[in-house]
């Protein structure tokens, strides 16, 4: 309440701005005609996000929104005007119209011919980045994603993102994302507007996103638009393909550890389409055969089963020229199991999401998207021993409804506003164990539910040709009886164009997070628990300011520098020796504190066109957590991912239309680790073994690992045979075979004594474990 009172003045200003803008929009609407429509790919019918629309005579333009919708206004009486529609990788289309009334103009752009042409990025992406008020944004193309070398040849969106400045992987080979000093749970990952709570397979080594099914990816690490809320540090907005509404087609691939197949086609040409995409690993098929061949052999321990799979589906229907319906879903599971005559163990985990979206065009200036989304993440551990059972599970489930409006009262204002509500259902570490006859019974765990509400308004205001201002706010609320929180989240961003090819930008964003992942500061695990805000565990808050400049050289190379500072409140960590399982009071194991992170230098040099494309990214940053009453006596400490220097170089070179070479090189300061400083011996109690070396830990995270360096190489050979296109991709991960530190442990060498069971340490050495040596892999991709 106090905070709300303090922000009353800000709200007044906000209300006046809103009213004046709407009024101005109404006035101008009476004097202009407009053109609006949806931009699509002529070959597949997919909507094009961020394609450019430019009025040649005025030299002004706009871009299509995330639903492909665009709108532009003209003064009434203007002579015929030529509109130019452009999108990288597509042939430019020019249409001439006679302004008068409200013209609806849907345009389908034709892809420029090339082998294995992928749906590509934002049109004039470098120009758009220069002009936009958006800052702290990372974009990736499916073309880049698929061409770059990958661990085991498994193309992974998240791992490519880790090569962008401001992102940190946390540890080698995993899909962890620590964005601008934020925690791994502070990323809002949405797939077709449904939240993905755990975007990992195989304990974090692969992400859940099958690149064949992904159409577009946009990531915000700061300057968050007001339509996003609920996480502190990043928004990763992944959109699935809609399916080809022109012809039946397919694509897929065979890799070292998994295979993929995607089928798509029209249900009714031009009006509706479908896409189904699946991926599955097959190591278990091989290990089962090995187990079968060794069955009955003495001393043979069967290899446990492990596999994961993903299934993406989507259908869309054009209901009328103004209405479009999209239904999409994702289901993925990891399964780890072991079974013999007396033991039956199964551990499975995964996400499920479902989205129904209805796009409605009210008129040339107003567009609405209504979404109903479902998502859940759960893990289950089951063990059955004759007469006894053991089950452990956790779950988080969301049911979300929201409506988003896109309103363009004039060419100078683009407004967004909307409402959302989400029902959250949590099961936190539910343990059920006991005997089949019921004599023995163990039960623990907690269940919660909560409601999250959000309402927002934002206006992108082109004050003059040089100055753009994006202001807005989000009002969010959380209810989990008896806890109730309301938070005001102002957002602002500005772009001032100094020269045609040079702009400066600034942004501020406050974010609130009402759900928290209870994860140790070790590595991410599927058994990490999502936990709601309660009276004790208050919503996490971040405030981030960023200042930057963007400079475009010859329309080809974009240099972006940003400096940022982020304040974090109500950060959640474990107390020392926390006990998560078999505990009905998880909050007793939590510590609440603060944090901050800053970078004076986050630099990206991008080249998106030509034979040689790629980027160089560098971040110099500091990250701290502290003021936890029960950790380090409240003193600040570095989290594991506080890596000072992060440098990445990514290059893609087209030798010819059939050959492409790719390379990445990464240098990162070592991760922070908590290593023991001392040791003691514990002789223990009768029946317990003498412990000659028990590590003594003092303050958290005082040691930094050696620096991490890795070079990967890739070669792509493309083939074409009639309607079939294919490529062979050779990836070499860690091409220099460098031994990077994954973790360091201290190993005592023990010596037997004359006393049975008693060993004494002779020498202690530090051992570094590396995870991956040089790993070549070959992947065959096809398309028809």
């Amino acid at each position: 309440m106090l905070f709300l009172l303090q922000t009353r003045n800000m709200k007044k200003i906000f209300t006046i701005l809103l009213c004046s803008t709407l009024f101005a929009g109404t006035l101008s609407a009476q004097q202009v005609a407009s053109v609006s429509g949806v931009l699509t790919d002529a070959q597949t019918g997919e909507t094009l996000i961020g394609a450019s629309v430019e009025v040649l005579s005025l030299g002004k333009g706009n871009v299509s929104n995330e639903y492909g919708f665009y709108s532009f206004s003209f003064p009434i009486g203007t002579d015929s005007v030529a509109l130019r529609f452009t999108y990288i990788g597509f042939a430019t289309e020019i249409r001439t119209i006679k302004p008068g009334g409200n013209i609806r103009l849907n345009v389908a752009l034709r892809p420029e011919g090339s082998v294995l042409q992928e749906v590509v990025i934002k049109a004039n992406v470098l120009q758009e980045k220069l002009k936009s008020t958006e800052m702290s944004v990372a974009t990736l193309t499916t073309k880049e994603i698929k061409a770059l070398p990958a661990l085991f040849g498994e193309v992974d969106i998240i791992k490519i993102l880790q090569l962008k400045p401001g992102f940190n992987a946390g540890s080698e080979g995993t899909t962890g994302l620590f964005v601008r000093g934020g925690g791994g749970d502070q990323n809002l990952i949405v797939l077709d507007e449904a939240v993905v709570y755990n975007a990992n397979h195989l304990f974090g080594f692969f992400s859940t996103f099958n690149s064949d099914a992904v159409k577009d990816l946009k990531v915000y690490k700061g300057g968050f638009p007001a339509q996003y809320g609920g996480r502190l540090s990043s928004v990763i907005d992944v959109r699935m393909k809609e399916g080809n509404n022109q012809k039946f087609s397919g694509s897929g691939g065979l890799g070292l550890i998994s295979s993929r197949l995607t089928l798509e086609g029209p249900i009714q040409k031009d009006k509706s389409s479908f896409i189904v995409s699946g991926r599955r690993t097959y190591a278990d098929i091989i290990t089962r055969q090995i187990n079968k061949a060794n069955q009955g052999k003495e001393d043979y321990n069967p290899i446990p089963d492990y596999y994961f799979y993903d299934l993406n589906t989507k259908v869309n229907f054009t209901l009328s020229p103004r209405d479009h319906l999209y239904l999409s879903g994702y289901f993925g599971r990891d399964v780890f199991g072991f079974k013999n005559e007396t033991f039956n163990f199964r551990f499975d985990w995964g996400n499920a999401t479902g989205t129904a979206r209805w796009n409605h065009v009210f008129g040339p200036r107003l567009f609405a998207n209504t979404t109903f989304a479902y998502s859940d993440y759960q893990y289950n551990i089951k063990n059955i021993l004759q007469g006894f059972f053991f089950n452990l599970d956790s779950k988080v489930r969301d049911i979300n409804t929201k409506v988003d409006f896109y309103y363009q009262p004039s060419n100078r204002h683009t407004m967004r506003f909307g409402l959302s509500s989400t029902f959250h259902d949590f099961v936190a570490a539910r343990l059920k164990a006991g005997s089949d006859d019921g004599r023995v019974s163990f039960n623990s765990g907690q269940t919660f539910d909560g409601m999250e509400y959000g309402g927002y308004f934002a206006d992108e205001w082109a004050i003059n040709p040089r100055l753009k201002f994006n202001y807005g706010a989000r009002l969010s609320a959380w209810q989990n009886e008896p806890a109730f929180y309301v938070n005001f989240e102002p957002r602002a961003a500005a772009n001032f164009t100094l020269q045609k090819n040079w702009s400066v930008k600034a942004s501020y964003a406050r974010m609130n997070q009402y759900v928290h992942l209870l994860a140790s500061s070790g590595l991410s695990l599927p058994t990490d628990i999502w936990y709601p805000s309660t009276e004790k565990v208050k919503p996490e808050i971040s405030d981030q300011v960023a200042l930057g400049t963007t400079y475009l050289i010859n329309d080809k190379v974009l240099i972006t520098w940003e400096a940022w500072y982020k304040w974090l409140q109500n950060q959640v960590d474990f107390i020392d020796g926390a006990e998560l399982f078999g505990n009905d009071n998880l909050e007793s194991q939590l510590a609440i504190g603060r944090g901050y992170a800053f970078s004076p230098l986050e630099l990206e040099i991008e080249k998106k066109e030509g034979k040689l494309t790629g980027w160089i990214g560098y971040t110099l940053a500091w990250v701290k957590r502290g003021q936890f009453r029960d950790i380090n006596n409240g003193k600040y400490f570095s989290p594991r991912f506080d890596t000072r220097h992060n440098l990445s170089v990514v290059a893609l070179y087209n030798l010819s239309s059939r050959w492409q070479i790719t390379a990445t090189w990464v240098y990162t300061s070592g991760n922070i680790a908590w290593l023991p400083v001392g040791r003691l011996s514990i002789q223990g109690i009768p029946g317990e073994q003498f412990q000659p070396v028990v590590p003594v830990y003092s303050e958290r995270n005082t040691f930094r690992y050696p620096a991490y360096t890795r070079a990967d190489l890739g070669i792509v050979r493309k083939f074409r045979y009639k309607k079939w296109e294919s490529d062979l991709t050779l990836s070499v991960y860690n091409a220099t075979d460098r031994r990077n530190p994954y973790f360091i442990f201290l190993e005592p060498e023990l010596k037997d004594t004359d006393f049975p069971g008693v060993q004494i340490p002779e020498k202690i050495t530090a051992k570094q474990v590396s995870l991956f040596p040089i790993l070549p892999s070959l992947t065959w991709n096809f398309k028809f």
């Binding site: 004759q386 290593l675 002789q683 009768p686 029946g687 020498k763 040596p773």
Partner: protein, 282 residues
């Protein structure tokens, strides 16, 4: 209750790291560390008051494997008393060994620890350098083993398991440590479970083994009824050990229940237990 479902993954990782020569020795510098006194004092009914007082080392400090090892490790010259029920027993600085099972003590008192539940004990130590250590604990009620049942597998009739049952008092918070040894109490424990009855919804608690016993095996079941402080202490040093070797584990400082100007580590607790020795036979 500790659950470790990642041992197979870790084993595979370790196997992979070893087979590809992915482990190497490195030189690292750890922060400076000041040695701390370490107390291990378990008050066992029917046994004398006795205590092991040692000191910790900086992690990379060299080990003295000669005759001076004990001198460097044991802390001598301390004044140690344990007070209870208005009495004070002074423990003298003498090295003694209990061979059943093997345990070493460097301070021993005159009195025998009474078995009466509810008695509060206070430990006072004044080290030779003038610093002090204090601690308190309470004698708990014995929780007996109800039964140990040997069951042979219906699938492989040569293999058996042992099921151990105890009855929990649900009106109070109780903590247990279960140790299971095969062949002798000096052997490496096959099971070492810490259990809090917060999660137990039945009166009966069962501890089981897998079908891994064969006819003729001997099973030593020990159920300790322990204090919350000892539960935290054991859990913390087990986490400290696993945190050093396991990248998925969060380390923990050792949670001691002794304190004072000497900045000590360690435990002062009572040891209330029942042990059952079972021979596996049909």
């Amino acid at each position: 209750m500790k659950i470790n479902n990642l041992h197979i993954l870790l084993a595979l990782l370790a196997l992979f790291a070893t087979s590809c020569n992915l482990t190497k020795e490195v030189d690292i510098k750890l922060p400076d560390y000041e040695r701390q006194p370490v107390v291990e004092c378990y008050l066992e009914p029917g046994k004398p008051f006795r205590l092991l007082l040692t000191q910790s080392y900086s992690f990379f400090d060299p080990f003295g494997l000669d005759s001076t090892f004990l001198d460097k490790t044991l802390l001598s010259g301390a004044a140690v008393t344990i007070s209870y029920n208005g009495q004070t027993d002074t423990l003298s600085n003498n090295l003694s060994v209990d061979f059943s099972p093997l345990k070493l003590f460097n301070y021993t008192g005159q009195n025998i620890v009474p078995a009466t539940p509810g008695i509060d004990y206070t430990l006072n130590i004044r080290l030779a350098n003038g610093t002090a250590i204090t601690g308190t604990t309470t004698m708990l009620q014995l929780v007996p083993i109800d039964s140990v049942v040997i069951q042979f597998s219906p699938d492989i009739d040569t293999l058996a398991r042992a099921l151990t049952y105890i009855t929990d008092d649900q009106s109070t918070d109780n903590y247990y440590r279960r140790l299971l040894n095969y062949s002798s109490l000096d052997s490496f424990p096959e099971q070492d479970f810490l259990v809090s009855d917060r999660v137990v919804t039945s009166k009966i608690i069962a501890f089981g083994t897998g079908y891994e016993l064969t006819e003729g095996d001997t099973v030593f079941n020990t159920i300790y009824h322990i204090t919350p402080a000892y539960y935290d202490y054991v859990e913390s040093y087990q986490l400290a050990i696993s945190g050093n070797a396991n990248p998925f584990a969060q380390p923990s400082p050792i949670k001691s229940n002794v304190s004072g100007s000497a900045n000590p580590l360690g435990i002062f607790t009572c040891l209330v237990y029942q042990r059952d020795t079972t021979f596996v036979r049909r």
